[in-house]
Symmetry: C2
Subunit: 253 residues, 2 copies
């Protein structure tokens, strides 16, 4: 692909409307002017998660600096389906990867939860957010997944209970591998369509007995299986979101 | 997790049967004796893609060397569904990743194909194989995905044509995003179940017009969509295989 900022699609925090002038961040400026060699009159696409997607013209203000002049809306705002991803975080590179892939697959909220057999004890929210934003830029979604603080699973489940808004917990249970009724697609197809879901992916060591008891006792919970092979957490995230988006999410049907 | 070779699951090329003695590879020896600190009487699991999975005992032959004494079968041989993955390779780390993930998701054959907008011109088969084997060890599958040489797409399609054995090509077409009938799950559910499939994932730049014409003219081809977001090739591989394994593959139903 030739170098051209014309294919750039950048997330900004500013409001977007015709005639506004946007200052890109330092990294964005470097990307547009140095990496992509942007010139006066080149266009980029901007989105902020609220105002849709806009075309903006590069206005150089120096050799390597510019502002972006917002010209016209290219797509109206849309929201991803209300699907949260709860997952037990794994180590660094694959954690970045989970944030990217969850964003790419259209999760509306990315929520790292601490389980009994979780491998990590701290999570860098800013890093998760940066990964989710970068993936949103590439995948052409118009909203940004909301990143939650690292929370003990029991507290996250308490919060779900307390909301009492009918959000269905989809529990991807690796111990259900052999059970036909739990094939993720079949199980979703057989269940009334929920308006909101939270998909729970466990740690690679599985859930503890205490956690399994708590999850099994939940009222609004659908246990599903992602097949007979042991999946790594990042693979399970993509597989689960693919099943969800196809059956209940925004894959047209 | 404490260090113990007991959880090790290793792929070997040797035949496996009661009473045989296996020499692990240099890397496997290092892993068992140095990383996992294996001792006499510790057990590991072995598989070769033909004879099922066997428990074997570590017999140290020196401080850092050992042979493995095959004792008893733990699982009979099984084969993954006959599902090939054809994909346009991407650059290094993500290519490794595709081989790992295709293996984890149970592809029976991994076939890099050169398309008009493909980003790479050479593929290291051995590296693909090493990644596929490592993932098979972790994911507990008993067979190994067969790695094919990097082949021009047109020749791969010729080979499919020539076989004439009813293998259905599942063409994941990013230009079909908006079409409800093409939702991957719906499209598969509406189609008679094939015995064999080849799943085709395009390059991130899409297929060329020539390629689209050829694909559109194929008799035994099902065009499917993986939703409205632009997916990276590695994500599309996992999403497509999840849909396939759930509907037609080996997720029980």
């Amino acid at each position: 692909m030739s170098k051209s900022p014309e294919k750039a699609r950048l997330y900004v925090e500013d409001d977007l409307a015709h005639g506004l002038s946007i200052s890109p961040s330092k990294d964005q400026m470097h990307y547009l002017m140095t990496v992509m060699r942007g010139e006066a009159g080149d266009h980029v696409l901007l989105f902020n998660g609220r105002d849709g997607e806009w075309r903006a013209a590069i206005n150089p203000t120096g050799k390597k600096t510019c502002v972006l002049a917002v010209e016209a809306i290219t797509r109206p705002q849309s929201a991803s389906p209300d699907a949260w991803l709860l997952f037990a975080p794994v180590k660094k590179a694959r954690l970045d990867f989970i944030a990217q892939k969850a964003s790419e697959m259209g999760a509306s909220r990315i929520w790292p939860v601490q389980t009994d057999y979780c491998q990590v004890s701290r999570v860098n929210d800013n890093r998760l957010a940066a990964n989710a934003i970068e993936a949103a830029e590439q995948t052409e979604r118009l909203d940004i997944a909301h990143i939650m603080d690292f929370t003990p699973l029991s507290m996250a489940l308490d919060a779900l209970d307390a909301e009492d808004d009918g959000r269905l917990l989809i529990w991807c249970d690796e111990d259900s591998a052999g059970m036909p009724a739990l094939n993720a697609i079949d199980a979703m197809k057989a269940h009334p369509k929920p308006q909101k879901v939270a998909i729970l992916i466990g740690p690679e060591g599985g859930f503890s007995e205490t956690e399994r008891l708590r999850l099994s006792a939940l009222q609004n919970c659908l246990k599903v299986s992602l097949g007979p092979r042991i999946l790594r957490a990042d693979t399970a995230v993509i597989a689960a979101l693919a099943c969800y988006q196809s059956v209940w999410g925004d894959w047209p049907s």
